[in-house]
Symmetry: C2
Subunit: 403 residues, 2 copies
């Protein structure tokens, strides 16, 4: 589905896009920390942003950029979130746009900005200016790996993907880089994801597609239940693939939509799997709900339970904690109708624990990827949430991550 | 406020009450595990129970007992929760009532039953029967300490208190034992609390008082956000103090109410402070809300955030995580109006971090008891939630607590 060969090209895989990542001295570690993604021509743009009312300055600025319907570039940094930084924070975020726009010879409201890292600290704007200028000089078709590494924080690796699909006889390419790790629900050591494509598509349709897809992908991740001040997902579509511009919900739109959803699904799963301190990747599938919102609420209740998360860390098939989290989710359910499986082993059915093959269950619990499958027996709706376990390492990372 | 001298007498402090705790072999450790509390005469009773839809068998049975308005005894065990045990679980809980009623020569719907421990395992009824009979033989005015120890699970100590107040010229006594520790929100390694008093009060008024008081005491604790299948708080009032029976909301009622609230507040705080693996006791006070429910929602959002909890474990004054949790609580708030203090040190005001005395803040963070004080600046309502930090020990306890 995703070509490994092209993954390294990431956001620069689609025609007309370049990327770069440089060291600007914003991360204490001295690692790569400023990324730029650039489209040669003005691209249609769509974006989704954190619903946290304490939204960071770059979120507020980038919402305005996305509102114009077009963008030329993304400028992002790690090491400092520019959140809870008041008026100066807003001016700093706007300054990031100005610096990039001047170098790239585009409008400042064509530059998306994003930040991730410590809250409540002002951006070092001198370093930022040097960094943005350096990154723009380095823009290339090979720059996506560096850009990806420049946006990560406590992630153990940079997430990237590249893929293509044929629309109206033309090859349309997609690329993406993303980071996650902590404060994930879409989250705040922050989830960031930048997607590029050379598809030609109307920006309003692009926004509809992204908003819809986000509901069943990025909004279905939970690492720790914390929702970031800085979360952001954007798509830039520059039209260089030469397909007939998609302006209505036709067959071409469906192909585009499904491919975009594939990318968002894949990155969501990878972000959950790389949650802070994670040793297990948990897929929580709830079926038999009366509606999607119910299924999601039950799945999130299980995904967020520290007792469930620590049990899976300990490889303990403690289904009692799972059914308990189902019972307090706030969604009406009946213990008599509910069935819980770990992998394909039924552990709870019709209000009591099931007889199970202990060896088979042990194998399920020992694996890295574990499915928690809950059937409420009430209706036809289902939802899937991706999560991870809770380990000593999570406590270590977050107890020792000093401000 | 609470006499240390009488604390040891606990639930047997009020006139006419006795207690006992014995080893029945239900806990793997071989510790005390069956408790009985007994009133010589039939007492007025009130109770509040878990809202978890996967309510355990003893919860379902005890709701019926409380519904009758009277009770003679409480029979409780630790080591097995009798939750998710289907029809047999219900029969076992009823059997507990029957065994005790026969020995105590009272009606079986006068016996409250409660269980805490592992979910999904049937009670060993032979051991239970021997245990209940042995405990009833041992009932005494000195038995509350053993009863308290017989209901704890991962608690590091048994919570008890005893106090008295004068109502209409008569000394009215109160006693209580409680356990908490994990799955607390009122919770499931389970919160149990049994209160006794020799006050004479109508059972309907007693229920009104307990239900109201629970909203601002037991329902304001969060250890891990998990709500137990087995939570239960009951009050038995046997009238032996000889006060004029309280049958309306008069001055005597107010005195009674305030004393009962003192007890519930004290035990709630102790349960939170003894949360699994806790090294810090956190009081989260939210003021300036438009209504109590808003203030509680914001406080709970902060109390439940793993990022906030691990930061306090690390003694890191990471106010960014606190204001972030305020921002995603779902209650409308304005970053510009919000003020956050740790102890008496202002760390965030009007959308940015505040200048603070680093030494003073360090002292606040190093203490065992820490106040997180959040003023939303919107209205006059406030709420207080008690919580604790998240430590390696929490992960250890819950990752290694095998079913």
């Amino acid at each position: 589905m995703f070509s490994k060969e092209h993954t390294m090209m990431g956001v620069a895989y689609p025609a007309g896009f370049k990327a770069a990542g440089v060291r600007a001295g914003i991360k204490k570690s001295g690692n790569l920390d400023v990324a730029v993604i650039y489209s040669e021509n003005e691209a249609a743009v769509a974006g989704v942003f954190t619903k946290n009312q304490v939204a960071a300055a770059p979120v507020r600025v980038s919402k305005i950029v996305v509102g114009t319907g077009t963008a030329h570039a993304v400028v992002a940094n790690a090491g400092c979130a520019n959140a809870c930084t008041g008026e100066q924070g807003l001016r700093d975020a706007e300054k990031m746009c100005d610096i990039a726009a001047k170098e790239l010879n585009c409008r400042n409201d064509d530059v998306i900005v994003a930040s991730t890292g410590v809250i409540g600290v002002h951006l070092p704007m001198d370093k930022m200016e040097t960094g943005i200028k350096a990154a723009i000089k380095e823009l290339s078709k090979e720059g996506s790996v560096n850009a990806g590494n420049a946006i990560i924080t406590t992630d153990t690796y940079s997430k990237a993907c590249a893929t293509e699909v044929t629309i109206g006889g033309k090859e349309v390419r997609f690329g993406a880089i993303a980071k996650g790790s902590g404060m994930i629900q879409p989250d705040m050591a922050t989830m960031l994801c930048f997607i590029t494509t050379d598809a030609a598509i109307d920006h309003k349709l692009l926004q509809i597609a992204l908003s819809e897809i986000t509901e069943t992908t990025f909004n279905m991740i939970s690492v720790d239940g914390d929702m970031s001040t800085n979360d952001m997902v954007t798509v830039m579509a520059n039209g260089q693939a030469g397909n007939a511009k998609i302006t209505e919900k036709n067959g071409d739109y469906d192909i585009f939509y499904n491919k975009l959803k594939e990318i968002c699904t894949e990155l969501s799963k990878r972000i959950a799997a790389d949650g802070e301190g994670a040793t297990k990747f948990l897929t929580i599938h709830v079926s038999g709900a009366e509606k999607f919102a119910d299924a999601k609420q039950v799945a999130m209740s299980v995904a967020k339970s520290p007792l469930v998360k620590t049990a899976f860390f300990g490889e303990d098939p403690n289904w009692g904690r799972v059914i308990c989290a189902v019972g307090y989710s706030g969604v009406r359910m009946s213990p008599e109708k509910t069935i819980v499986k770990f992998g394909d082993v039924t552990v709870y059915a019709h209000s009591i624990g099931a007889e199970y093959d202990a060896e088979a269950l042990k194998k399920v619990m020992a694996a890295h990827d574990i499915l928690i499958d809950i059937d409420l027996g009430e209706g036809d709706a289902d939802a899937t949430v991706w999560s991870c376990d809770f380990s000593y390492e999570y406590v270590k990372i977050n107890g020792e991550y000093h401000t």
